[in-house]
Structure formats: C-alpha cells, structure tokens
Amino acid sequence: MEGDDLLESSGIAIIRGITGEKGVIVVRAMGKEELTDEELAERTNLKVNIVRSILYKLHDHGLATYRRERDKKTGWYIYYWRLTIDRLKDVILQRKRLVIKNLKERLEYELGSKFFFCPCNGKRYTYEEALEHNFSCPDCSGVMLEIDNSRIIEALKSQIEKLEKELSSEENQ
C-alpha cells in the first residue's frame, strides 16, 4: 500500500490515536511539504505550542522528521518539519506486533487465576485478592461471585491466532 493510501485508511486512525483530532488536521495540512511549526500553525489555525506538541509526538513515533537552521537575524533555530509517511507501514506493523504481545499477556493473566467480582461495582479481583478480603466485597460487604472467563479465553485464543496470520502475511508483502 502506498503512503497516501495508508494515510487515508488505517493510518489516519493510528495518527488520530497518537495525536488526537488536531494531529489529523496538522498531518493533512502538511501533506508532502516541508514547513515550519509557525507556518503550520497559520495554516491550521491552531496555536503554535499545540502544533509543536503534535509534531514531537509524530517524531517520537517516527512519522515526522525535521532539519534546523539558525536564523541569521535572531540567532535562534528554525525547525523545518516534514512527514515520513513512507514509514507509516512499518509503524503499523510494529504496533500490530505490540498488540499481539498485549493480547498474549492478557491471555496469560486470564489463564493464570480464578477471578471474582462484586455486582455492586463490577470490580474484578484475582483469587488471591478475593481471599485477602475473605470473598466479601470491601465496598458493600456482599459476597463476591466467581467469574466464568472461559469465553474470554476462547475469544482471545482465536483472535491471537487470526491476527498472527494476518500480520505474518502483511510482513511478507
């Protein structure tokens, strides 16, 4: 998938997740140009400090890069930013690997203990935590009920399997 297409589909959802709605506005305003933070602020009608914080977040995730030049008059640095959307595919793959790692961790957690909850607040307790409270809710003193998490375990297993297949086919593209 080309960078432009990525930017318009799942890429934009990820950019929105990383930087929020204003980040999407900044990214769309940048396009393929190289711009200073102040030019971007003017173009998007956003405050320059907000634009900067968005650019730093994009930079942290490898989606923007900058070069700096010293202003001969003021002696200050001027930062020229541009997007590295060609890296977006790698960023998406990297995030997908992390998602699978997270789901596996959650699966281990689900398999590792029995769980209890109290209907008064829906809070979850591991077996050890419930034992500590003598299986009575610390908030309402009601009896805790055991959670049947077998469906969650099954859903996690099948989801992980599906996503691993999808990821490996994307990695081989």
């Binding site: 318009e8 589909s9 799942s10 934009i12 959802a13 990820i14 929105r16 997740g17 990383i18 930087t19 929020g20 709605e21 995730h61 995030r95 997908k96 992390l98 998602v99 997270n102 789901l103 961790e105 959650r106 957690y109 909850f117 209907p119 829906g122 959670i147 049947d148 998490n149 469906r151 969650i152 099954e154 859903a155 996690l156 989801q159 599906k162 996503l163 999808e166």
Partner: protein
C-alpha cells in the same frame, strides 16, 4: 434512521469509489451546510475520511468509509500503546477499553455470563 447513521450507510455503500459530498447531501435531502456538518462529524468519529477532489472545476470532497479495524481491538490506535505495562495503571490487566472490547468479542456482553 437518524441522519448520521443514514449518511454513514450511504458512504459505506459507495465502497471504493466513494461518494461526492454534494451527492450525499442531495441523497439525504439536507442543505449543503448540514451535509458538510454531517460529513465532518463522521470523519471526527473515525468512520469516514474525506479526500479533496476537483469536480466540475470546483473543489469538493469525496467521502470514503474507513476500514473498521475492530479485530485489532482498541490497542492498535491507543496513544499509550508504547507505554503499556511500563506506566502505573496502564496495563493489559486494568485497561477498561480492552476489558470492554474483550467482553464484546467474546459475546459476554449479550448474556452477562461474565459479570
């Protein structure tokens, strides 16, 4: 059906070709102002994206439905994905979004078998 839902269904039905913003508001029988407001709202909700196109010598937007990434769950677009498990309170055991998603995909929300 409310207008937003109807608009989203129309955009979704337009598939890969997408639909011109002007065609959308005509189909919905709303004003251009209302039509743009609806398109903007759907875009902000992450349901569609707008592509600026030149149509009959005028700039307008073509609307496309965003591919839903439900199967990847909330983690893929989470701003804290990189910090997950490294920051206090940010982990896969306590994340309310992950919990809600797991309940949904496992069907546990429908019959309340989990909680």
């Amino acid at each position: 059906m409310d207008l937003l839902k109807e608009a989203y269904e129309l955009v979704k039905a337009s598939g890969e070709k997408g639909i011109l913003q002007s065609d959308l508001w005509k189909a919905l029988k709303v004003s251009s102002r209302e039509g743009s407001r609806i398109a903007l709202k759907l875009e902000r909700d992450g349901l569609i994206y707008r592509k600026r196109v030149l149509h009959q010598s005028r700039w307008t937007y073509r609307l496309f439905a965003v591919e839903r990434r439900e199967e990847w769950g909330p983690c893929l677009v989470c701003p804290e994905l990189k910090e997950c498990g490294k920051k206090v309170g940010v982990n896969v055991r306590e994340c309310p979004k992950l919990e809600e998603w797991l309940l949904r995909i496992s069907g546990s929300l429908d019959d309340g078998s989990e909680k």
